[in-house]
């Protein structure tokens, strides 16, 4: 008791022990690098290099395509080989810049700042924007937009999402254990923007070592604290995390800022620190390469644009014939067709499952057992929403709050009849939103 959490949720098999003790090691990219122009929410970036150009590591190769967009930097030195459509993890073909890596890693010089505290708010936001920082937990929402709410004085909480509630993933955990100072420095910079806010690190209690490390570091930071959270999926869901930390509930039509909160993931805060302090753009991040089908589950600091295949190779390759490859966690990640797909700013993991539990069972009739209702962190009736979805009953779907679904997948996870509940709801949500946009 006493641990903060939300209502509902599930306790999937954690699988974190596979990679949790493997220290972060850097993987230097070898082959060609692919940089999709859409690695974030919002307008795609616009290439500013041409085929045949030679580029340096750290050089901007694509400009933000609008305010809600983000620039992209090359993480290697080499020559632009092509600008063409390439397949990305979510399955789409996306316009991408392909760079032949010369293996030299000749780098541009970055503009570091001596004293971060002397920077103005505009300077900080500009440096975040220029560096191409986006929400690296998976959504990829441009961070400079998040850091520019209408009323900055009304922001009371900056929440670092250190929950890492997806099973198997350990990248954020390793960051907290190995680079907690950078995380705290990132938080400090963001707090500089919001004079009335306090910084809270929300960490699930299955990471005692990270909690101890972070507590030690924030001891002397009057504006920061560590909040221990119950280990439960989806504790790291934005709305669930805000509720656990502040007791405030927001719905799909509200922004965290409406509840006086801004939520950023561990990797994002570290990127903010690197961008503002050292002037280093987003080129590298940590991802977990793990699962029963990986020879040596690892946490890698890799260069974005590297193919998944290279990361798997660095982790000792595949163990036997894998059943399914997932970019991201097992609950919300995207399964991928092949390993020949580029990593992006939002790639937090590659999971190699040795059995495919999603298709291993034939779905049978819904028996109305209500397990999905108990599990739903949004207090919806998933089985009913799925039924409305399958029948195309849009009006009913909205009336039963279908649009509030956060697509966490807990309902499918618990369904004893093995029905694709979340999948039906997600599809209907997309259709309903598309229909609403038409009006």
């Amino acid at each position: 008791m006493g641990l903060k959490t939300f209502k509902g949720g599930v306790h999937p098999f954690e699988g974190k022990e596979l990679a949790m003790d493997s220290p972060i090691t850097e993987v230097l990219p070898k082959g060609e690098m692919v940089y999709p122009m859409s690695q974030h929410i919002g307008a795609p970036a616009t290439p500013i290099v041409a085929v045949g150009d030679s580029v340096l590591k750290g050089q901007k190769i694509a400009e933000a395509g609008g305010f809600v967009s983000s620039p992209i930097y090359s993480s290697v030195s080499g020559t632009v080989k092509a600008i063409e459509k390439r397949r990305v993890a979510v399955g789409d073909m996306v316009n991408s810049i392909v760079i032949e890596n010369d293996g030299q890693f000749n780098e541009v010089s970055y503009q570091a700042v001596e004293d971060v505290a002397s920077l103005s708010k505009e300077d900080i936001i500009n440096r975040v924007k220029e560096a191409g920082v986006v929400g690296m937990g998976g959504a990829g929402f441009p961070t400079h937009v998040k850091l520019s709410p209408k009323e900055p004085d009304k922001i009371e909480y900056i929440i670092a999402n250190c929950a890492e509630c997806e099973p198997y993933l350990t990248a954020d955990y390793r960051r907290m254990v190995e680079n907690p100072d950078e995380l705290v420095a990132g938080m400090k910079i963001i707090l500089q923007l919001f004079p009335n806010a306090k910084g809270v690190f929300g960490i699930e209690n299955n990471k005692p070592e990270a909690i101890a490390k972070m507590k030690e570091l924030v001891k002397d930071e009057p504006r920061m604290e560590v909040c221990e959270l119950m280990t439960k999926y989806p504790q790291g869901g934005e709305r669930q995390l805000i509720f656990a930390v502040t007791g405030r509930a927001i719905n799909s039509k509200m922004l965290p800022a409406d509840a006086g909160c801004i939520v950023d993931n561990v990797e994002t805060m570290i990127a903010v620190y690197q961008a503002v302090k050292n002037g280093i753009p987003v080129m590298k991040r940590v991802a977990t390469i793990t699962g029963e089908g990986i020879t040596n589950p690892s946490n890698f600091l890799y260069s974005m644009g590297t193919s998944y295949a290279e990361l798997v190779e660095a982790a000792g390759g595949l163990k036997g014939e894998p059943e399914k490859l997932v970019s991201g966690g097992p609950m919300m990640g995207f399964s991928i067709f092949s390993l020949d797909i580029p990593t992006t700013k939002t790639t937090s993991s590659l999971l190699c499952l040795s059995k495919d539990e999603a298709s291993a069972f034939e779905p049978i009739a819904c028996i109305n057992c209500g397990r999905c209702v108990e599990a739903c962190p949004e207090q919806l009736i998933p089985s009913r929403l799925a039924k409305f979805g399958n029948l195309g009953l849009m009006e009913e779907f909205e009336k039963w709050h279908g649009l509030e679904c956060i697509e966490c997948g807990s309902c499918t996870y618990v369904c004893p009849s093995r029905r694709p509940v979340a999948q039906s709801v997600k599809t209907m949500k997309k259709l309903t939103l598309a229909e609403k946009r038409k009006k």
Binding site: R239, A249, P322, P330, D356, E357, S359, I367, E378, P416
Partner: protein, 328 residues
């Protein structure tokens, strides 16, 4: 392109629970009551149990064969229906009537409406009510080797209507708790049923929303309106209330039949409303009806109300409450 990996929409992992496992838990939880029934009423009780279970499973299998549907007996729900039906029958019921009950439960109440998950009425209770009307005499004949006849509830109803006889004459509420009374095979022992209920709760199969609200609302109703209630001539009689709670299949109904997933509301608030409906209707039937029992009819009537209850109790999604307040 043959070397592509499998893809599907997330999530990619699943919990271990399965529908047949849930059904198995229900069967296990019904074993104490079944064993007590066999101990109390003799081997004929076992025969009836085997007959109804067999009839239910075979009916489902044949139905699926005839309509060319995939076989569904593996989900074990037909076994649960058969077992529940048997526990709701008097031990002296002719075998052929029990067979008709099993066929009715599966074919008419369940399969014709679309099979598992689609029936709007609990199959076992539907069949019991059908048998009660079709074979009224056999279904209310509780005389057997061990007991001479009337159930405790019928006795109390008689006593209340007879001048000069104490309300609890011939009724021992402790016997009712243990189950040494006349009644249907599985309903007599409150203790055995509660042991089963605890198994179901611990296994996470049911929660207390429906049985809790059912039993509490029934108790409150009886305290107000019954012959042993606060406003009756004889004043409140706690023994009478215990007898009412233990008798007439109330425990079996509250924990095993009102909680039937398929025929109860899925909304948490709706489950409480549903429990109250069952409780009030049972009380109404017992206090003012011609029959001493009423659990079966109360539950199937409440089953019919489920769609309306659900519509009225759609929960407000997380965070939506706050927004509504904001606009005031």
């Amino acid at each position: 392109m043959s070397d592509l990996y499998k893809v599907s929409s997330s999530p990619h992992v699943r919990a271990k629970d399965s529908t047949s496992k849930i059904m198995l838990w229900v069967i296990i939880a019904l074993l104490p009551a079944s064993f007590f029934g066999i101990y109390n009423f003799g081997l004929r009780a076992l025969l009836l149990i085997l007959v109804t279970v067999g009839t239910c499973v075979v009916s489902e299998w044949i139905f699926n064969k005839i309509v060319h549907k995939k076989n569904t007996i593996g989900d074990l729900s037909a076994v649960v229906t058969g077992l529940l039906l048997a526990l709701n029958l008097p031990v002296s019921l002719p075998i052929w009537e029990a067979v008709i009950g099993g066929v009715f439960a599966i074919i008419i109440v369940k399969m014709l409406f679309g099979g598992l998950g689609q029936n709007f009425m609990n199959p076992a209770l539907g069949a019991r009510c059908f048998l009660l009307i079709a074979f009224a005499a056999d279904m209310t004949n509780f005389a057997c080797d061990t007991y001479s006849g009337a159930t405790p509830l019928a006795l109390m109803k008689n006593n209340a209507a007879t001048e000069g006889v104490a309300l609890m004459d011939g009724v021992n509420s402790f016997d009712m708790l243990i189950g040494n009374t006349a009644g249907t095979i599985g309903e007599t022992s409150a203790v055995a049923i509660i042991i089963g209920a605890i198994i179901l709760i611990l296994a996470g199969v049911i929660n207390l929303r429906i049985p809790g609200s059912y039993i509490v609302s029934f108790a409150v109703f009886m305290m107000i309106f019954s012959e042993g209630g606060f406003f009756s001539a004889g004043g409140f009689d706690s023994n009478y209330l215990v007898a009412q709670l233990c008798g007439g299949g109330l425990m079996l109904g509250a924990f095993f039949m009102a909680t039937d997933y398929v025929t109860s509301p899925i909304t948490p608030a709706g489950q409480i409303v549903f429990g109250i409906c069952c409780g009030v209707l049972t009380g109404l039937f017992r206090c003012f009806g011609a029959n001493a029992e009423g659990v079966s009819f109360a539950i199937i009537l409440s089953n019919i109300l489920v769609p309306i209850i659900e519509k009225a109790t759609v929960p407000r999604a997380f965070g939506v409450v706050k927004e509504a307040k904001k606009h005031e």
